[in-house]
Amino acid sequence: MSNQNATIAVPAPRALLSHATRETLSNYAYLLPAAICLGGTVLFPILKAIHMSLYYNVLIKPQEYRFIGLGNYVRMVQDPTFWLTLRNSFTWVFWSVSLQFFFGFLVALILNGQFKGRAIYRTINLLPWIIPGVVVALIWEYIYQPNYGPLNDLLRRAGLMREPVAWLSNLNLVMPAVVFTNIWRGIPFFTIMILAGLQAIPDEIYEAATVDGAGVIQRFWSVTLPMLRPIIVVATATRIIWTFNYADLIFVMTSGGPANATQITSTYTLMQAYSDLDWGYAATLSVILLVIMLVFTALYLKLTKGVESVAG
């Protein structure tokens, strides 16, 4: 300790590492637990998946396990079911997200009104979103059940149906049926997001628009929608990616059947792993899912950057 200058700032003895180095090390120490978690549960498994995708690896044929290079990828490109699942994924995502958005927006506009018991209504309307996916799937499997399910019964009582319909085994009805379930589940997500956006719009803007003679419809188009644009973009993009990857509902309700009518790429990947026990091909499909997801995310980031500059 050098005490010749009697100030408060006492020069510390020189440490083995400079102050800057020590600070950097301690910065990374805070991140270490998170880094270990993600390294062990995300990054390493992804590398492992890429590695697995290069092997012929069918669990029931261990003697045939071997390196096949891009063999699984070639098989995928030539696999008509794979292309079918991509088309199904598109249908699944498009109808799920666009209708979740539409109804979520409507519910948000309603819940944004001033009325008694708003908190209770809000909670009830948001509940479908919070419950486990397998629970949603089972509830709706029961509703669609041809003999004891309430849907057929209600339609029959309303005089809209004569013969019971097997919603989940009819090739033409099964996709709409699972999409409808997903809509029920996903409406609250958009409601939450858009409601938050609506409540962030300052009242003065509406008042100014009203003074300028704008009616309720005009105010919606010229104030509400433009002000909500950033949140709409973020919510929709997140939802598209999430729905594309989401396998639980279809996996439980139909396992992608009948005849692959509801087989989307993510459930196809699961079925390859669980039913066909073809882990090499499953890994290949999951790598492709990852690539598609990364492209989406890159697009999304580009979009939101644009939005951020608009939102200020």
Partner: protein
């Protein structure tokens, strides 16, 4: 009064009958399916399979709950305990890990910070399907199949990135001056200033971690083989796959899986919603 009471007849129509009609329809649509399953869960076996089907149970009974809870083939008491344990440990560990990382990302300067934020954002969107095969072989190699650790570690793959991202936003909204004036070390500042001030945000991320672990299905079915290690989600799926569907017991199982998260949500929705939308509102 944002859009009502301003004299326009169209507006009064929208704010009156349309609003109430929409409210009733929306609520019926959201609640109807729950109500149906709840009613089914208190019906007797005979009534469940009667034609024409009944809506209000003639002889309401909680026998299905007792059966599901004590069943030896699908012991929901055990599933419930497993879910509670896995979700709670995931929640607590996630919060500790993410608070440290979130604080570092919100406050410190270092190389690669933006890249790290991007990594956290991107990993939120990784498909769980992608991780199943490699994680299974990993847990197998480490002898962790049929352990709670395998489920808890796997859950980190989706809880940690999201909570870090959320917490960074919360921490950044706290003025730096508070820490600078306190003259305590960085860790002290984190514990004594940041954590108390960001408590609502931390609560929101905690609920998120709990609820998403509670709902998790694919990891729980893949990394467990023994019935007594299954969580509620995995147990429900197992119940469907194993036997002819017993809608009464299954309905009871569905209600058992739903009620805890529904209660959590009802009491803490304000925090949760604010936490979830804060990031999106910022853009």
């Amino acid at each position: 009064m944002k859009t009502r009471g301003l004299g326009d007849p169209l507006e009064r129509f929208l704010g009156g009958p349309v609003l109430w009609g929409g409210l009733v329809l929306g609520t019926l649509f959201a609640m109807g399916p729950f109500l149906w399953v709840f009613l089914a869960s208190v019906k007797t076996r005979v009534e469940l399979y009667a034609t024409p089907i009944t809506y209000i149970p003639v002889q309401p009974t909680f026998q299905n709950y007792v059966d599901a809870w004590t069943s030896r083939l699908t012991p929901f008491s055990r599933f419930f305990a497993n879910s509670l344990w896995v979700s709670s440990v995931t929640m607590v560990a996630t919060i500790v890990i993410s608070t440290l990382a979130g604080y570092a990302l919100a406050r410190f300067r270092f190389v690669g910070k933006n890249t790290l934020m991007l990594v956290f954002l991107a990993t939120q969107m990784f498909p769980a399907v992608l991780l199943i095969a490699p994680l299974l072989s990993q847990w197998h190699a480490l002898g962790l199949i049929d352990t709670y650790q395998a489920l808890i570690y796997s859950n980190f793959s989706f809880t940690v990135p999201f909570t870090v991202w959320m917490l960074v936003g919360y921490f950044e909204s706290i003025p730096r001056e508070l820490e600078e004036s306190a003259m305590i070390g960085r860790f002290g500042a984190l514990l004594r200033i940041i954590v108390p001030l960001a408590a609502p945000g931390i609560a929101a991320t905690a609920i998120f971690a709990f609820v998403s672990s509670w709902s998790e299905l694919l990891f729980a079915t893949t990394f467990t083989t023994r019935t007594d290690m299954r969580t509620l989600s995995a147990g429900l799926l197992y119940m469907v796959g194993q036997y002819e569907i017993q809608w009464g017991q299954l309905g009871a199982g569905v209600m058992i899986s739903t009620i805890p998260v529904a209660i959590l949500f009802i009491f803490l929705q304000k925090h949760l919603i604010r936490g979830l939308t804060a990031g999106a509102l910022k853009g």
